[in-house]
């Protein structure tokens, strides 16, 4: 289903029970855009991501992916929509009892009709994209945190998703690994043409990869600024946003 926006969030209110986390969120993400969700710790960034990937149901409002409301459709169609997205979790979220190859094999076996040989070839290709060629038979516990994250990314892109969600991709990485991951995100966007939504509070990443962004505020419980990250830095008057973007205490 084609639509003007890849992701369209309308009047979204998120809550845990009766406790409202964020309310009246409205934003759109266009096809092929890198969209940053930022804000201080505890503002609900990761909760918003959990809503966008279909792990949590909105308290109020709508989440439209390619024009289809994620929660006003059948479970089958929702699963179909979700399977067209890839998610990179903070710690990689690799299945620890499986090798890297087996981690990538699960979605390929579930959603494609490829033969065992073809699956191995796709796995080799995907791992080579993230610089992990040769690590097919390693368990997640045998590789470093940065490598786990890249393996998580390989699993997230294994089915060529239309949209990729990243939860704190730079968390726990050294500046060099973090920069390499940012470059990889840009390269994947440029080559795959995928839409990318990133939840982060890493300023370097925000400025180097973000096309558009929103800033969530934990006190007012809503979006208090939106625009390109550099534009926010240059023109935004909100003191919270300025403090955040300039690392001013």
């Amino acid at each position: 289903m084609s639509a003007d926006y890849h992701l369209n969030i309308q009047n979204l209110t998120m809550a845990y029970g009766e406790s409202i986390i964020q309310k009246d969120l409205n934003f759109t993400v266009q096809h092929g855009e890198i969209f940053i969700i930022m804000g201080g710790s505890g503002c609900g960034k990761s909760t918003l991501l959990r809503h966008l990937v279909g792990l949590m149901q909105p308290h109020k409002g709508q989440i439209l992916i390619n024009g289809t409301d994620l929660w006003q459709t059948s479970t089958e169609q929702r699963n179909q929509i979700i399977s067209r997205s890839g998610v990179l979790y903070q710690g990689g979220a690799l299945w620890s009892s499986m090798t890297l190859a087996e981690n990538l094999e699960v979605p390929l076996k579930e959603y494609t009709d490829l033969t065992a040989k073809q699956i191995i070839e796709v796995i080799n290709y995907k791992l080579s994209l993230v610089g992990l060629a040769g690590f097919e038979d390693y368990f997640p516990s045998e590789i470093s945190g940065g490598m786990q994250k890249r393996a998580g990314l390989a699993r997230a892109i294994v089915l060529d998703p239309d949209i990729l969600f990243f939860d704190e991709p730079s968390a726990g990485l050294d500046p060099i690994s973090s920069r390499l991951l940012d470059d990889l995100i840009l390269q994947l966007r440029d080559s795959l043409g995928a839409t990318i939504v990133i939840v982060t509070h890493e300023l370097a990443s925000i400025f180097s990869v973000g096309d558009k962004s929103i800033f969530l505020d934990p006190t007012r419980k809503t979006i208090i600024a939106r625009g390109a990250p550099q534009q926010l830095l240059d023109t935004c008057d909100d003191p919270h946003v300025r403090k955040f973007l300039t690392r001013d205490s």
């Binding site: 299945w95 620890s96 009892s97 290709y125 080579s128 994209l129 038979d137 060529d160």
Partner: protein, 378 residues
């Protein structure tokens, strides 16, 4: 023109240069063509030194095309055929250069061939040695922590001990009630069938009373606690290991054995004898039910027979066994938890190993205690 699924390609030669033209959709949902026939054709043309691509007729493409290209370029490299990517879509060119940007590190790929028998025996021996060393270390540290406890120097929170006591005692009553009553019931039922043949129904009380007090009460309680509490200890400590919570204790100079293991060990040592007495009572009650319903033996008769047939020493032996089993279950659970690796699957292994180790230790210890009691005439 060769065709596989929806993806098509055509190979044309112009002197030393081969041109591979793609057409149709190259989506991996429709399968990925095998490169062997193409490679065979390239190799047959002895003077082919360059490979170019033409993607003018190419429809939609995804990782299906890329997987094919990566394989093909690898194979061409091996056969000294130069590959020119400029005829590919720009996205494919970028992905291809990304895939080739980090070459595979030498020696990183694992050989999955079976190891020689001697290597495997060696590895198992080293692993066993490591396990025994870990166990001895754990037992030593635990012994030291118990000594500290008696000297009043052990550092743990009283609230933790009370929490563990609640978990290992009152919270286990429901399952102990169910299992013990049923065990007493089964013992009585099996005995009733045989004893009725000889008109010796009243001895059902002896059978159930002795069986529960001396053996089954302690044994069944220990097995329940191994599956319930021992596994929980292993999973809790294993998860703490994964989350680096145990490292945090160590770096604060707090002994994790004192802080985490001691409360659990104490809780189970204190609760097991009480649970055992309770299990004995419930088992005997289960036997009484069968006796009164099937054999017309009144509760009072049954009670008097149990009292005369089962002297206190049998209950004491059961209680001593239960205490020892408690130590074994807590030790096995905590040891496997502390030994746990740093992944979710390792926590699962730790819990499974804790239960298996506990049950093996319980049965072995029971056999040893039974033989000792026999020798001592108890």
């Amino acid at each position: 023109m060769q065709s596989t699924c929806g993806s098509k390609y055509q190979l044309q030669f112009n002197e030393q240069t081969a041109c591979l033209s793609f057409s149709g959709d190259w989506l991996f949902s429709a399968g990925i063509p095998d490169i062997e026939p193409l490679l065979g054709t390239l190799q047959q043309t002895a003077d082919c030194q360059n490979l170019q691509f033409d993607s003018d007729q190419l429809g939609e493409w995804d990782s299906g095309l890329m997987t094919f290209l990566v394989k093909l370029t690898d194979a061409c490299q091996q056969h000294q055929i130069a590959v020119e990517n400029s005829g590919l879509p720009s996205g494919a060119q970028k992905l291809l250069s990304l895939a080739n940007s980090v070459p595979e590190h030498k020696g990183v790929r694992r050989q999955l061939l079976g190891q020689p028998v001697l290597t495997r025996i060696g590895n198992v021996t080293i692993e066993m040695h490591r396990n025994w060393t870990d166990l001895l270390g754990f037992l030593g540290e635990t012994f030291y922590a118990v000594l500290n406890l008696f000297r009043g120097r052990a550092r743990f929170r009283t609230s933790d001990l009370l929490y563990q006591i609640e978990g290992a005692g009152p919270s286990a009553l429901a399952i102990i009630t169910l299992i013990s009553t049923l065990v007493g019931l089964i013992l009585a039922f099996v005995g009733a069938v045989q004893l009725r043949l000889f008109g010796a129904q009243i001895y059902i009380a002896d059978l159930v009373g002795l069986g529960m007090a001396r053996e089954m009460g302690a044994m069944m309680t220990a097995i329940i606690m191994a599956g319930r509490t021992g596994a929980a200890y292993a999973a809790q400590l294993g998860t703490m290991q994964v989350n680096e919570e145990i490292d945090a204790l160590k770096t604060m100079g707090i002994s994790p054995i004192e802080f985490l293991v001691l409360p659990r060990l104490l809780a189970l040592c204190l609760m097991m004898p009480l649970l055992c007495v309770y299990a004995d009572f419930m088992g005997i009650l289960g036997g009484a039910m069968v006796s009164s319903l099937m054999l017309d033996i009144s509760f009072f008769e049954y009670y008097q027979q149990v009292q005369s047939a089962v002297p206190l020493k049998h209950f004491l032996i059961g209680i001593i066994k239960a205490t020892i089993f408690g130590v074994l279950v807590a030790t096995a659970g905590c040891f496997r938890g502390m030994q746990c690796g740093r992944s979710a699957s390792a926590v699962g292994f730790a819990a499974t190993n804790a239960v298996v180790t506990s049950i093996v230790l319980i049965v072995v210890a029971d056999a040893i205690i039974t033989v000792i009691c026999q020798i001592l005439g108890f």
